[in-house]
């Protein structure tokens, strides 16, 4: 929604950064800029009002999957030890790994396709907050499922994706480590939840308070 402005503020800031004014010693941003510099379409040269269809599809797919997996996570942890809980834990893990894969795809796409520029009337502080929110969300798209995966392995339950594809353990099986990772997965998931709420609230504010048409970049039918 809110213009996945991962480092969106666009062409002019890009240029200034290339000129050495880069104050953000952020590796992530650096990668993005490097990818963009290496031949990705430049937003300045091909301005477009909306996100590409692929970006829109990936965005809504991820949005639905993350909100569903999050809610499911909250629900399942309160179940008593039962067949239902084991089933739902596994579904949660499968969905979470799917989100991880989807996020990798999305990041790759995003690295090569700059989003449309933000409305020019948008104040600088909002750009900064939007920028930071999107960075953090992308970080958590990876950190949350990776922490869940690690926790699962440490607890002695290696992940078998959809019940057929065994995924490797990349942390040792260790009950103490599992106890440590459990609140890490939860804390990161809650942080992602909070950012999603902020993200949705901002998108709604743009739509109904600012009325700047920002949401239609992610929901093209709104502008018809």
């Amino acid at each position: 929604m809110l213009g996945i402005s991962l480092c969106a503020p666009g062409a002019f800031r890009d240029a200034s950064k290339m000129a050495g004014m880069n104050r953000q010693a952020d590796a992530f941003t650096f990668i993005l800029h490097a990818a963009r510099a290496s031949g990705a379409r430049h937003p300045f040269m091909s301005p477009s009002a909306a996100y590409s269809r692929t970006a829109i599809a990936l965005h809504w797919l991820a949005g639905v999957a993350i909100i569903a997996t999050f809610s499911f996570g909250l629900y399942m942890v309160d179940l008593p030890f039962s067949p239902a809980r084991i089933r739902q834990y596994n579904w949660h893990k499968w969905a979470g790994i799917a989100i991880l894969a989807l996020s990798a795809l999305r990041l790759l796409w995003r690295l090569r396709h700059a989003p449309p520029p933000l409305p020019s009337a948008m104040p600088a502080w909002q750009r900064r907050v939007s920028h930071a929110t999107h960075h953090l969300m992308y970080l958590l798209f990876f950190a949350v499922p990776l922490a869940g995966w690690a926790y699962s392995s440490a607890a002695g339950f290696p992940v078998v994706w959809f019940g057929v594809l065994p995924l490797p353990d990349w942390v040792p099986r260790d009950a103490g480590l599992a106890e440590l990772l459990k609140p890490v997965h939860r804390g990161l998931a809650y942080a992602l939840g909070a950012l999603v709420v902020l993200h949705v609230a901002a998108a709604l504010k743009h739509q109904f308070v600012d009325r700047d048409g920002l949401l239609s970049r992610m929901l093209p039918f709104l502008s018809r």
């Binding site: 067949p83 084991i86 596994n90 607890a155 019940g163 009950a175 599992a178």
Partner: protein, 184 residues
């Protein structure tokens, strides 16, 4: 009486020679169960064996094995609490699982096939256990694995009997170190 005692005393070493000793610290009894495709490993910390076994005379072998089911560890702490419950091992009522050998067959190359009866949770079933013996110094290690069907023993009945959730097949693996086994 005196003569009887002498005869008894003479017999004692013979009996002792026929008895091998299990070395628990070097032995392991483990199992793998599957939950929706996920292998969940477990093991038993306490078990004991009475073994009278001469590799040259397998037909006269006698092996009795027992496992203290309360000593189970599997998955996380919650899973351990669960498997002790009546629906699974019911360790309060059936604290031990046992195996009693019947015919033992030598297959050559240190490999043996031990037919016997496995009793868990009040259910006795025939099983065939393959074992491979390796001798090193004074000790002999017997390793092997076999598969049992948990529902044959009513392990995880009721709500848990759905085998698409917890597979029926459970692989049991063992490595038993024994002292005093005559040479192969």
């Amino acid at each position: 009486m005196r003569r009887f005692l002498i005869v008894f005393a003479c017999l004692l070493p013979a009996v002792a020679a026929a008895q091998q000793k299990l070395l628990p610290a070097q032995s392991e009894v483990a199992f793998t169960s599957r939950q929706m495709g996920v292998p969940v490993d477990g093991r038993f910390a306490k078990f004991d064996a009475q073994v009278a076994f001469d590799p040259k005379k397998p037909e006269s072998a006698k092996i009795a094995f027992s496992i203290d089911l309360d000593s189970v560890s599997v998955g996380d702490a919650e899973t351990v609490r669960e498997v002790r419950k009546p629906g699974w091992f019911d360790t309060a009522k059936f604290p031990k699982a046992s195996f009693q050998s019947g015919a033992v067959k030598a297959l050559g190359g240190g490999r043996f096939e031990i037919a016997g009866t496995l009793s868990i949770k009040g259910v006795a079933r025939p099983v065939t256990v393959p074992a491979t013996l390796v001798q090193q110094g004074p000790n002999t290690t017997a390793t092997g694995s076999f598969t049992i069907k948990r529902l044959d023993f009513r392990i995880g009945d009721g709500d848990w009997s759905d085998v698409s959730l917890v597979a029926n097949d459970v692989v049991v693996k063992f490595r038993l170190a024994l002292a005093g086994v005559p040479p192969l």
